[in-house]
């Protein structure tokens, strides 16, 4: 059903094509590059593909901006963090576990997939310019009503942004989204800043260094119980 095609911007990452209903990430990226035209009903009818397209769209916006900066600065791009983001996307589009919602009613079984929840968490990055969520995990027994669940995220943030404020804002937004769409008992949202992306090379006051586009910092930024 699918063909492997070369797409220089997308490193190959391991994932199950079942999660994308037979499509590869390369094919979806090419579909996105065409502006999702002509509309492919099979792709649009796949929730996994929709999640992947949305995440790729956000990632493409940020990487395009960084590449423009790279070209201007004539500095080599470090795309290791892009690989991490893509790996996170590949994992997130899996439907995963089924999380119950709604009151228990005889003969009625209502639920939401883990993939859908990760998708709405990941989409929170849209409200924070140049922030990208890499991995996103729901740790705990999400299928059991009332069981504590911890959200764990790795993110990359833009250089110069006040990290603590940004992370606090992202945590609040994600917490609000989870309350709006799930009945999960969220015991905490752990956000680790794994990368800081800079738009211009050069040290100067930044102290970042001259050699690359990004530097990697691991900063566990506290935790906060949401419920």
């Amino acid at each position: 059903m699918t063909e492997e095609r070369e797409h220089p911007e997308l490193p190959r990452i391991g994932f199950e094509q079942d999660d994308l209903d037979g499509y590869s990430l390369e094919e979806l990226s090419e579909y996105l590059d065409r502006g999702r035209m002509p509309r492919d009903p099979a792709i649009e009818a796949s929730p996994g593909c929709r999640l992947a397209l949305e995440a790729l769209e956000r990632l493409t916006g940020v990487t395009a901006e960084l590449r423009a900066a790279d070209t201007a600065a004539e500095a080599p791009a470090d795309e290791g963090w892009v690989q991490e983001i893509l790996a996170g996307i590949a994992l997130d589009v899996r439907a995963g576990r089924r999380i119950p919602v709604g009151a228990s009613i005889p003969g009625v079984d209502l639920g939401i997939t883990e993939g859908a929840v990760r998708g709405v968490i990941r989409a929170a990055e849209r409200l924070f310019p140049r922030v990208l969520i890499g991995s996103c995990r729901l740790d705990g027994e999400v299928t059991e009503p009332g069981a504590p669940v911890r959200i764990r995220l790795d993110v990359s943030v833009p250089y110069g942004a006040p990290i603590l404020d940004l992370v606090a804002g992202l945590r609040a937004e994600i917490g609000a989204r989870l309350r709006a769409h799930t009945e999960l008992t969220v015991s905490g949202i752990d956000i680790t800043v794994r990368d800081i992306t800079v738009r211009e090379s050069g040290a100067g006051e930044s102290g970042v260094g001259e050699s690359g586009v990004s530097e990697t910092h691991w900063l566990p930024i506290g935790t906060q119980a949401e419920r």
Partner: protein, 119 residues
Amino acid sequence: MNLNTDAALALELEAAVRTVPGVVEVYRTGTPVARAIAVGGERLGIGAAPQPLVSIERAGDGIQVEVSLGVSGSVGAGDTVAAATVVLSALLAERGCTAPELRITVVHISEVPGGSAAA
């Protein structure tokens, strides 16, 4: 009930659930392999008419209905599926289906400008 009747009922259920505020899309239910086979068959023109997106299973006098939904982020997912339950249950009752078993799963939440229902 024969397959044609169930197929017609599935289409009715799909049309009904699409009218529920907050429902953006109805997705095909089933395992990834089953979905791939159905989609692949449709693309190749193999087999009968396109398979309904809503799944209906019969066991004795009982009926099991399974629906996979894409919902809008502007409405809480729980509220949307609750409303879908009311609509589907009413339609099944009209069609003489007693004690149906409904399984509704949200598989995608569409982002809205400015954020989700949380905003």
